[in-house]
Assembly symmetry: C2
Homo-oligomer: 363 residues x 2
């Protein structure tokens, strides 16, 4: 029911530089670039470059990462790349990059149809057989669909709960219920297929928890829920290596009580001109004047103009009285200071072990 | 940071029949009555009778509970009573009952103003000094306000995350971030007041986690997050002792993927004629035709008529194609069968210990 010794071994084979329990850095678009990914991997986690919907800057970032990190003995670059699938019509133009750099993993998210994932997985494995395929889902139904989809052979399933910052499902559950239900349902599916003899190629994916995990206690909780490791995004916004405005980072450190001070909405996407997300997805950010104005009925055209005017203020444009978008998760209140990304990885990983070991003899 | 040995001792002094880690049954209005509360307490948990906004049936239920359970050595009835404060103008008419039965705890929730809680706490302690005061909150801000409020002296703070079924805050965070932030913030507040010499009477409350916890893994996670125990509601809907229609209970057992199949809304309250909840609160239930019709623009008057017609169908009125309200939490998919409430308490408590002990030597 929990991560098995076999699965831990699989993690260590696929990503030989990691230390377990595993901490992963989310592929935050425009924010998680080579520096952040490299620092996370150097600390025994797995860092991701967030290519998002626009892979243009990817070759520069991959070149930088590969100059900073040696490949593993099996020849993979010890970081991954995250894509937002609906925004990239085809993987074909990316194949030369994948073949050249051989990232440890590609992370797929929000395809137009789950069947689109098969070509990404197949084509990637053809040019870089050691690159593992990660898929992010936000529901039990999507987890089942991804695991069942012919040709995907998902290696890692990132299960994102509703507390996550940035984009995710409009409606969802927190990791407390979502992770155990995905673990149980996917395990049962894999067992059933194996028993029925239709199990060839249907492996049990490693399940990672994402959404609302910002420090050691959240990580310890995720492991207790049955996850094989955790993904953090918001926490790494407050790292020295993240690429974001100081105003944004200050706001992440300042904000508390994220259940009340962040909200899932499509308003920020509309004001920033981010189109293309389907109706199932929106994004969580800190509430600010853009959001309140939209709630009060200020139309998008005017609200967008106000947003654009605010951009001229630079860092002062962030904050509750500001208008700049501050995507962050509901656990933002647990993020208290800016640290090095490597230090964050070690603190959370070692802290989680301490929390779990701390129950010894006390229960 | 986690529950201390002192706090565990305080729990055992206040509720001498319990076994730790502590499992509590939520005071579900009209559903958690004497039978359920008694079974939970008999299994070493703390059961609550859900008086809700209407304390009329309370004397019958308390009489029944006290015929089924002996008082503790210090003379308290080993169950609690849950109130929804906005619906009860004053505690005064209830004082004779509290004095006569001396429940172990009163659970206060959703007062019109937090300052209203002081009279409830003070008057209760006057007539029954051993009755402990529990308050349910859903945000860090409310936790701080309750702990700071003169005259409340909250003994137990129930911290409800957004995955909870039934009523709670419209906007909120899951327990994964909410519980640690409340623990840290309240601990710091208590320490600061104590240091400043203004700490007389400001004790650190026991913090319990509620919302999305349905089985052993959720409980283990809650303990890792720093909670001193857990509260479950939805899980006890599938107990033999809960008072609810078979159609409702069947639907709780059937529903899966609660992040997708439940929703926080005010629609069900409106159709059922439940008025009085303020704008900050709504309730989570399984989506059904009432909800979809409301989404499609069917007006309340027509939707209410359809709801009332559906009532004639009895148990068949529940289900995705039905219209009867099925309040349940986002972890409803982890509730798989109807069991005795005592068996649930033991399974979850012992299972949580097993989960946490299971990490020994594996990290």
């Amino acid at each position: 029911m929990y991560i098995t010794m076999d699965q831990i071994q699989r993690l260590k084979n696929d990503y030989p530089w990691i230390e377990t329990p595993l901490v992963v850095g989310a592929p935050m678009r425009l924010i998680a670039l080579a520096d952040l990914a490299v620092e996370i991997s150097k600390a025994g986690g797995i860092g991701f470059i967030g290519a998002g919907t626009d892979p243009t800057p990817l070759s520069t970032e991959l070149a930088l990462a590969s100059s900073l990190l040696p490949p593993t003995p099996s020849g993979v670059l010890p970081i991954g790349i995250g894509f937002i699938n609906w925004g990239i019509p085809s993987i074909t133009p990316l194949l030369p990059l994948l073949q050249h750099y051989k990232p440890a993993a590609i992370w797929l998210f929000a395809p137009k149809a789950i069947s689109d994932l098969a070509s990404w997985a197949t084509e990637t494995r053809k040019v870089s057989p050691k690159t593992r395929v990660w898929v992010q889902v936000g529901s039990v139904a999507d987890a089942v669909a991804v695991v069942s989809e012919e040709g995907v052979g998902v290696d890692v399933l990132v299960v994102q709960g509703s507390d996550a910052g940035g984009h995710g499902l409009v409606r969802g559950a927190g990791v407390v219920g979502l992770v155990p239900e995905v673990v149980d349902t996917v395990s049962a599916l894999v067992a059933e297929r194996t028993e029925a003899g239709r199990g060839r190629g249907l492996q049990m994916p490693i399940i990672l928890a994402a959404g609302g995990i910002a420090e050691k206690r959240g990580m310890a909780a995720a492991l207790a829920l049955g996850a094989g490791g955790v993904v953090m995004g918001t926490r790494f916004l407050a790292s020295r290596e993240a690429v974001l405005a100081k105003g944004y980072q200050d706001e992440v450190v300042r904000a508390t009580d994220g259940g009340q001070t962040t909200v899932r909405t499509k308003v920020y996407d509309r004001l920033r001109g981010t189109t293309g997300w389907d109706e199932r997805h929106n994004a969580r950010g800190v509430v600010n004047r853009s959001f309140w104005d939209a709630e009060k009925g200020v139309g998008d055209e005017k609200n967008k103009r106000l947003y654009e005017e605010e951009m001229a203020k630079g860092d002062a444009g962030w904050g509750v009285e500001g208008r700049m978008t501050t995507y962050a998760g509901a656990s933002v209140g647990l993020v208290k200071r800016v640290m090095g990304a490597g230090e964050i990885v070690r603190e959370v990983r070692e802290g989680a072990v301490e929390v779990l070991e701390g129950f010894r003899g006390k229960l």
